[in-house]
Amino acid sequence: SAVISQKPSRDICQRGTSLTIQCQVDSQVTMMFWYRQQPGQSLTLIATANQGSEATYESGFVIDKFPISRPNLTFSTLTVSNMSPEDSSIYLCSVSEGGVGYTFGSGTRLTVV
């Protein structure tokens, strides 16, 4: 299965700033996704990162707050903009590999102070 590298693995940020999270996959994949896991909660899908077009966002998530780039089939970024303490979460990148299933990165643990 694909191997996903996420950077940074963790960060502590000041409120009002932005953080860009990178997701690099070791093979070309069509479907890439971004999830959020708030403390003590399950994974919530933020958006589907589409190569060559705008991301598709889930209800409750907007492009201005979580802009996503997908310049090619192996890379994507998620930016958390104008952060507040409520954005403190683990952010995960995931890829779909057809019959294999879904593989997840190790996540980015974000703390906003």
């Binding site: 479907m31 996704f33 399950s42 994974l43 919530t44 899908l45 589907t48 995960l92 879904y102 990165g105």
Partner: protein, 114 residues
């Protein structure tokens, strides 16, 4: 709306006890079903998956799950748990269609006491 529910939020078992974690989904069409595990401090790992065929699916570490279409369920089972099974377990579903979005249930935190 399409959703996934896990009814057991926190389960405590003694070693060697049998485990069954419930997972139900709300959708009458084709689904792909998954169970993932997240050990403390680690990232998500796939335990098992169901796409089609035999509804009884065997996964890693002695886990299995049964897809019962009439009950919209995909319960996870293990006949005898170990302390090392202490983790959070997530049921996930991809609902039929072209979106391929994997939607998770709320998760079940399993604590196995030695």
């Amino acid at each position: 709306a399409q959703s996934v529910s896990q009814h057991n939020h926190h389960v405590i078992l003694s070693e060697a006890a049998s485990l069954e974690l419930g997972c139900n989904y709300s959708y009458g069409g084709t689904v792909n079903l998954f169970w993932y595990v997240q050990y403390p401090g680690q990232h998500l790992q796939l335990l098992l998956k169901y796409f089609s065929g035999d509804p009884l699916v065997k996964g890693i570490k002695g886990f299995e799950a049964e897809f019962i279409k009439s009950k919209f369920s995909f319960n996870l089972r293990k006949p005898s748990v170990q302390w090392s099974d202490t983790a959070e377990y997530f049921c996930g579903t991809v609902f039929g269609g072209a979106t391929n979005k994997l939607i998770f249930g709320t998760g079940t935190l399993l604590a196995v006491q030695p």
